[in-house]
Symmetry: D2
Subunit: 288 residues, 4 copies
């Protein structure tokens, strides 16, 4: 987004209380930060407040450290968690895949052309197939095969890559293995998965075959954060595609690829632009 390239982002959430907007906007004004776009929402059911602000410092000597230290004091009073993101920041990520390459290919294109402000530190797979794609983009590719017996060991290898590469976000771009509860918990809230159905419909394996059997007229894709319950994590965004009687299961698989790519890329963009707020089992998404 054009503005994002020159503006800072302040994202925050805290319990509902009078003055939550004011504590943010007054501070920005006092520090000569010019707000270009702002959205806030106070959820009356969970009694939680969310705010996202894009701003441009008017003074040349703006310091993120000073800003953060000073704002932290005020935020404390509201038990407000906040995050300040500088313009042009690229979020470091690891991408996990199996054999299907469509989502990876799509993410790599958006990464290579700068459309998606991420920095891909590594690609991890349980198969060797997509190594050439990684190589052409000059990204380390880790092939960690998995069997029922070696699952714990393999996940330890995966975790080692995630930890050592210092990434903020893990993207499961059609990684076809069920993660252990332990790894799910470790990645909770910082891993995005794409599931190829309109959750909660057709959880689990082979959702397009389930969709064919049920005879639905719409298929879709769901991008969600990982938590400790399979295909049950908080939803970020969903996409949909009409289908018909002439679409056999293999046609649904083929037709679904585009919407999977778009939905995952959209979720990653929303995440890295700090548009997604996670609270309990739900997300607040300040979309454009």
């Amino acid at each position: 987004m054009s503005q994002a390239s020159s503006t800072w982002i302040l994202a925050a959430q805290c319990p509902s209380r009078l003055g939550t907007v004011d504590v943010v906007t007054r501070f920005l004004k006092e520090n000569r930060c010019y707000i270009t776009e702002q959205q806030s929402f106070d959820d009356r059911l969970s009694e939680r407040f969310f705010i996202r602000t894009e701003f441009r410092p008017l003074d040349d000597d703006f310091s993120a450290e000073t800003f953060q230290a000073a704002f932290a004091e005020r935020a404390d009073e509201f038990a407000m968690a906040f995050e300040l993101t500088p313009p042009g920041r690229r979020v470091p990520v690891v991408i996990m895949v199996s054999k299907a390459d469509h989502c990876l290919n799509d993410l790599l294109y958006r990464y290579r052309t700068g459309q998606l402000p991420i920095e891909i530190r590594a690609i991890v797979s349980n198969h060797p197939d997509l190594a050439p794609l990684a190589e052409w983009h000059d990204i380390p590719y880790h092939h960690f095969p998995i069997t029922p017996e070696t699952k714990a060991e393999q996940e330890a290898q995966v975790w080692e890559v995630i930890e050592s590469s210092g990434v903020e976000l893990v993207i499961l771009a059609r990684y076809m293995q069920v993660l252990s509860s332990d790894l799910c918990t470790k990645l909770s809230g910082r891993a995005i998965n794409i599931h190829h159905s309109l959750l909660p419909g057709f959880k689990g394996a082979k959702p397009y075959h389930q969709a064919y059997d049920k005879g639905v007229k719409l298929v879709g894709a769901t991008a969600h954060y990982i938590n400790d319950d399979l295909d049950e994590g908080p939803i970020i965004t969903q996409g949909v595609e009409p289908v018909g009687h002439a679409d056999y299961p293999e046609d649904l698989v083929a037709k679904g690829r585009d919407i999977e790519c778009l939905t995952l890329a959209r979720a990653v963009a929303l995440h890295v632009e700090r548009r997604v707020f996670l609270h309990a089992r739900r997300t607040v998404v300040f979309d454009r």
Copy 2:
């Protein structure tokens, strides 16, 4: 649709076999019936053939009886079930409702203006609320209250109306009662229900509240034929609507109304234009 007003429709299905298209098209040619639109599909998994043809007889002395009698002989060889529909035919229907009026209001408008070629013989409800709407459109309104104790009796009253009014189709336009298995079976394949979710997600009661709890980003509606299993009948069409974090359950209810109306009206239109073919638990829909 403009063509429908001047063309006959021949809809047929039978087991897959060489010559299924030819038996239809050759007969039409020989009987000087001019085909304006035709679609056929041979389902390789269920081994079943479906065809829909719109045609215009070129001769003035075209007789439906003669056509049917003569075609029946050829169709017999293929175990082909067929239905011939004259131009401008209005399908007789009964509409069932509870208190929500949006789908009924929408159907009544399309009926009154001739957009939907149906003839509404009666409206049946377990509440008196929508009687004035029926009255303004000059349609008999039957108020049959229901309690757990009187359910069998009430369904007998409903059935009596359906039977006595000679209708072909029952439309459940947000009728909020679960039909007994017996009535479901009687209405199997000739009653269309609108369920306010993207089935198979959120079956049963209060689907918008379920959708809110799950935090989905898309809600929808599903129009399907009734069979003997709640919310599990063959799907005709589905519609979808984006929602967000600021939509509380009551907002989802409000937002969903339009897509419920459109999805139900579309399903009824597809049915009365003979575009829907039912086989086992699936539909073939020759849409435009």
Copy 3:
């Protein structure tokens, strides 16, 4: 929308300048107004600032008059124009129609059921056809026939109804007459028209026939404010519908009705919820 029923709305715009957000949010905080939802946008090309806030006064003795008087002083410094809207307010409107009833019927339903917070003071038409519909809803219907010779006179009658009924908004729900430049200017920014094409494509008469001739695969509808240039006023929202080769012009007319209704109703909802800001030839729309 659920929140709207219990919250006040403050909508404002002014030239871009540091402190535009703060002047609003600080005042709300000081006056113990609890913000439930807020959106702001600062347009760097037109150098104009827009803000919309939903809030709930925490004190029982909240007075709109006091609020407005006090806030006006601060707004003045920013040359800020603002509008305060109480919960549950119904905007008084006049609807203008010709013979086509679909948009009127749709608006009347949403009005009758309270889905659209408007109060329809009168319906004006150049034809008598839709009088029964108005009558059933108990709304005054003015039939003012028009000919090239009587146009000025007819528009004077129309204007008299608009003025005397004290309405804020005029809705042209398929009123098929071109308004004079004079009336357009008088209604500038406070009349919403629905044009049955995706403007700027297919301006002027018979857009569906133009669309057929061009062979487009999508048709649509555009809701826009009236200004002094035919079909050129600021766009509020647009809707779209896929079409195909089998849709003759009369089919496009039929298919387009739903999207016209939905697009117009949506524009009116956005307007009355104070989500639309008009500046020069463009709109800022803070949608949900």
Copy 4:
């Protein structure tokens, strides 16, 4: 599509006349060709008939040459033009680009993975930028710079590539030069262009900037055949994307990329699957 891989396609068109369907279906039956899917349409305004059939020969000794020779005799009587396409055929194409790589990248991915049954014989550009992309996919890349003075010469080079590579289809994947009337005429009906607007809105240069100036709420893309009139050729398919006030022209450019890719890829798929019929200035598209 799954069926396409094992079925032949017969596509035909001719003037309207009784027996047009029968001449096709009777021949297929007599030659023991099993029809799996068929669509036909008789356009009453242009008095032209179109039919598309997918079939599977039941006999092992099926010969395309024999089929074509025999069917040609019958087709002659109806002045019917037809085309027989074997299963798995890859249509040879040339792709033309300038500097923008998104559509090319998308087509290359679908080509590489076999999703799009094309064989890319060459890529032609007026800039050298996309040569590495072509190289990775092992496709000849011709860089033919263009200036106002060398336009005729450059187009001769382009034409030489098209002719010598024996391609059936030219894909203009964001080739930003206006072709000469001469080249347009040569390519008439066998070159597909993607224009980044919802034609007929925003013809010519910089459509997203035009869209911004107009303040539209939907942008889109149009895939159409080239004819001798700029941006006026017969439309194959169109795609649409919602936008808002916060989208500056450069955001529209960014947001439009996905819908351009999808719309162009869809048009190419429809073309190579013989689903598009061209007649006068319109297309008939037998979509799934």
